[in-house]
């Protein structure tokens, strides 16, 4: 009897808090409207175009092979797949009826025009720090895109995560206006204006922390560990702070080269960082330098000196696995990766050795196996790196042998303890055309929280 009464009380309490949350979560719909001519002045649109490049809007809101900004790309998170929406000014399926006020509320508070809470895959936790003029410029840019009729795909989220009022609770816990010196907080007297510009871009618009900061079990960035490394679409997003395992220090100039294109000593971007670097081609060099100036101070003076520079050491190949890995390296990799490095006249876009790459100093082999599996596709109509995909040639065992050899030769850190599991995990969908080996949902399972 007693127990039954407690259960009833618990159920009532749960119901009441759900109702309370539902009530607290309620946000009004905003009246429909559109931009005035002044709100889409050509200068404003031009500014907005640069800002949209630096916010990497297209990397989520444009589907592969799809129309620009028409949405449809699925963002894999540990909670399920969130489908990016259509942000073209189509009146039915896009932002056609959105006023600047509605757009501003969405960017700062993650609430759409209808009053629905948006999932934090949309990085409003960062955009909350954007200035009013920048939001207005982004609005001008978005509202002058080609309208595309494209209904947003439904998200694939389990109940209760599919119940949007829950997001209001998440926001109460985790959404704060980002602290940005010189923008939302007092300027740092030790730093110059370029650094402050970079801080604003990195913290608010470019939302670097969305990938490079670890997240808690509820998918929120852990502020006390900002830039200590995270995950992005199944890739390891390396730390940007002094815990970076990079074999070489990152200077401001190195970062500026890397972010604009490629750095001769550190190499270039692959995976989800590649569209970021590609987007920078539409951005003035001054903005890239500002980002680099800020990120270089996150790295600071670097680790305490215990870290060695690039490693390339003789590998004792009595172990037959290492012998096999060495043969694969010699036949498949060395022709480019031992050419001396692009800057010294070797194959373009290679570093002097693979020992220069942070990838081989990573805590696990994920990024290495992903780049071996998929290669690096060439850019259309622009120079850039290209690497063949080995996912169809190498078996899991051969991939494992190769990775073990690369790690032994080019890193001082000892074998990857989880190498077998990493290879198995990443290679599961190596052969997408072969139904026998295709796992229907490996991506979602692998992926960490996404922006």
């Amino acid at each position: 009897m007693q127990r039954r009464r407690i259960a009833v009380w618990l159920a009532a309490a749960a119901l009441a808090s759900a109702a309370g949350l539902g009530l607290a979560a309620w946000r009004p719909a905003l009246p429909p409207g559109g931009p005035s001519p002044a709100e889409t002045a050509p200068d404003l649109v031009r500014q907005g175009a640069v800002l949209a490049s630096l916010g990497y809007c297209a990397s989520c809101h444009t589907a592969e092979g799809g129309r620009p900004y028409a949405g449809g790309r699925g963002i894999a998170t540990p909670f399920g797949t969130i489908n990016a929406t259509n942000i073209t000014p189509d009146p039915e399926t896009g932002l056609g009826h959105w006023t600047l006020a509605a757009f501003t509320r969405a960017m700062r508070e993650g609430v759409d025009r209808d009053g629905r809470h948006l999932y934090p895959a949309f990085p409003y936790t960062h955009y909350a720090g954007l200035s009013e003029p920048d939001i207005a410029a982004l609005y001008a840019f978005v509202m002058t895109r080609e309208p595309v009729r494209a209904e947003a795909k439904a998200n694939a989220l389990p109940f209760p995560l599919s119940w949007r009022p829950l997001i209001a609770g998440w926001k109460l816990l985790f959404v704060r206006t980002p602290t940005i010196p010189g923008a939302t907080a007092p300027a740092d007297p030790r730093r110059d204006p370029e650094w402050h510009r970079g801080a604003y871009l990195a913290e608010a618009l470019s939302h670097c922390g969305a990938c490079h900061t670890p997240r808690n079990w509820l998918g929120a960035e852990i502020r006390s560990r900002a830039y200590a490394g995270g995950v992005a679409d199944g890739w390891w997003a390396p730390p940007l702070d002094r815990s970076s395992p990079s074999p070489l220090p990152w200077s401001r100039d190195d970062l500026a080269r890397y972010l604009a294109d490629w750095d001769p000593l550190h190499g270039g971007a692959a995976g989800p960082m590649r569209p970021v670097v590609d987007a920078h081609r539409a951005v003035p060099a001054g903005e890239i330098r500002a980002l680099a100036a800020y990120v270089a101070t996150l790295y600071g003076p670097g680790p305490d000196g215990s870290r060695t520079g690039p490693v390339d050491r003789a590998v004792a190949t009595e172990a037959s696995a290492l012998t096999r890995g060495a043969a694969t390296y010699a036949g498949a990799c060395a022709v480019c990766h031992e050419s001396g490095g692009g800057a010294a006249g070797g194959v373009p876009y290679t570093t002097p050795s693979l020992g220069h790459r942070t990838t081989l100093r990573a805590p696990d082999a994920r990024n290495l196996i992903l780049v071996l599996r998929d290669g690096i596709a060439p850019r259309d109509h622009a120079p850039g790196p290209i690497m063949p995909a080995y996912g169809t040639l190498l078996t899991q065992a051969q991939m494992t042998d190769l990775a073990a050899y690369l790690r032994a030769r080019f890193s001082p850190d000892g074998p990857w303890p989880t190498l077998d599991a990493t290879v198995r995990d990443v290679m599961r969908d190596a052969r997408p055309r072969d139904p026998q080996t295709r796992d229907p949902s490996p991506r979602a399972a692998r992926a960490g929280p996404s922006p």
Binding site: A326, G331, V335, T392, L393
Partner: protein
Amino acid sequence: MPNLTVNGRTHAVAAEPETPLLYVLRDELGLNGAKFGCGLGQCGACTVEVEGRAVLSCLTPIGVLEGRPVTTVEGLGSPENPGPLQAAFIAENAAQCGYCIAGMVMRAHALLKANPHPDEAEIRAALRLNLCRCGTHMRILAAVARAAGREADHGPTTTGAAR
């Protein structure tokens, strides 16, 4: 030394396991269909099939091929008796200098094996990494479309105009 199975025949080869397959095909086995273009896996002229999938033989060490069948362009037919895909390339006059063609044929062959009725976009995506310096791309696309049993999507193929 590794055994290599090429076009259904098994060969004991003398080369070291890191030797690229392309060198063994051309220098040891006398199969000169696959070509050396760049040697860096960037042009596709050396493309052959391993277990039915297109690979770049210039970057394929033979050590990874033990027990895995290799098919080269010679395995698809002969000048007297060309295979259906080769016949389609001949019918569309798809070769000019011909250096890239063996690679193109093998890449297309692997595509058609996995997807017998590719559309234009799928053909282009598959052949994207194979380069032709003469500019016969339109005829190559038409040849693959013909082998896939349908008309090319873009009408006459005589101009080779860039699109």
